[in-house]
């Protein structure tokens, strides 16, 4: 029995690791039960039993391997998509930063300047929260993005209002509020587009 069991456990190596971890001991137990049933049977029955066990592994192990490979491929694809999203986010921030520098130098379009300020500041803070959360956890991506953007933009608007009133005589609350609304919509659209390209891992 011990040798047969060891032989069967060796055969189990044909299955992917996660499948073996989940069902390996149950399969060995089932093998032992079946083996006990045929122990007093003839040599022909024993040969038929082993043939059945070997055929079962040959038939089912590739299927399990294929499924495990598919899952891994989806995870890799998802990570690749997240990396592209992160790079796109950094690229957007750099472009916005350069544009803001240009606008400040030439002192044009105050409202656009406010909006770029909001997009850059809220973008850096909220994306530092969104990317780690959506990649590393199983939280709903949409809810994470929605609430993070709402809270970050809201908090920054509050800070800007409290400080701006004191340090900038030309501070305009409607303009700053509108710029954070633009920032909220901008980053929400960005993450919505990203979610459309992200493969779903089941």
């Amino acid at each position: 029995m011990s040798l047969s069991k060891r032989l069967f456990q060796l055969m189990l190596l044909a299955y992917p690791r996660e499948f073996r971890l989940e069902y390996g001991s149950d399969m060995t137990q089932l093998f032992r039960d079946c083996y006990r049933d045929i122990q007093r049977a003839s040599l022909i029955s024993a040969i038929a039993f082993w043939r059945r066990m070997i055929w079962d592994v040959i038939r089912t192990a590739p299927l399990e391997r294929w499924e495990a490979l598919g899952r891994r491929y989806k995870i890799m694809k998802s990570l690749k998509s997240d990396l592209i999203g992160l790079l796109a986010c950094i690229a957007i921030l750099i472009v916005m930063f350069l544009l803001l520098g240009y606008l400040r130098k030439h002192q044009v379009a105050l409202m656009l300047g406010y909006s770029l300020d909001a997009i850059i500041t809220a973008g850096i803070v909220s994306n530092l929260i969104i990317f780690p959360l959506t990649i590393a956890t199983r939280l709903s991506a949409f809810r994470t993005v929605w609430w993070t953007l709402l809270l970050v933009n809201g908090a920054l608007l509050l800070i800007a209002t409290l400080i701006g009133n004191r340090v900038d005589p030309g501070f305009s609350f409607p303009a700053v509020a509108a710029s954070y609304l633009v920032s909220f919509v901008f980053w929400l659209t960005f993450h919505w587009l990203r979610s459309q390209m992200r493969p779903q891992v089941s």
């Binding site: 499948f19 001991s25 149950d26 399969m27 089932l30 059945r52 055929w55 592994v57 038939r59």
Partner: protein
């Protein structure tokens, strides 16, 4: 938002091994060996599920919510604690019924074509 109710028809036709496992569990909770014995019994020994076939199917059935693992033991006296017992869910029952109806329709067609004697 309410979760969309799964449609049993979408999982049809069932594979032979899945159908026999669900049929075996329709009488009550069973462990792997119990399922295997029940299947061999109701197929007159024609179908003997190997460990890979059985647990591969169980993995997929658990994933689709057709069965669940249960802590309750049908007979604690006879029980081996290491064994895992499985139970048919309501959804599993619906899928099994839908498959039986599908097969029944096929049998009716076969009877009309005189490939099978009519049931009395």
């Amino acid at each position: 938002m309410a979760k969309e109710k799964p449609n049993p028809e979408k999982l049809l036709p069932l594979t032979s091994s899945v159908f026999h496992i669900l049929l075996a569990l329709s009488d009550g909770d069973l462990h792997g060996y119990g399922i295997m014995q029940e299947v061999a019994e109701h197929t007159g020994g024609q179908i003997r599920l190997g460990p890979g076939t059985l647990y591969g199917a169980i993995k997929r059935l658990l994933g689709n919510g057709l069965i669940v693992e249960t802590d309750q033991r049908p007979d604690p006296e006879m029980d081996d604690e290491r064994r895992r017992y499985y139970r048919l869910t309501d959804f599993g029952q619906q899928v099994l019924k839908a498959e039986v109806q599908r097969i029944s329709k096929l049998v009716s067609v076969a009877q009309r074509k005189r490939l099978l004697p009519k049931r009395t």
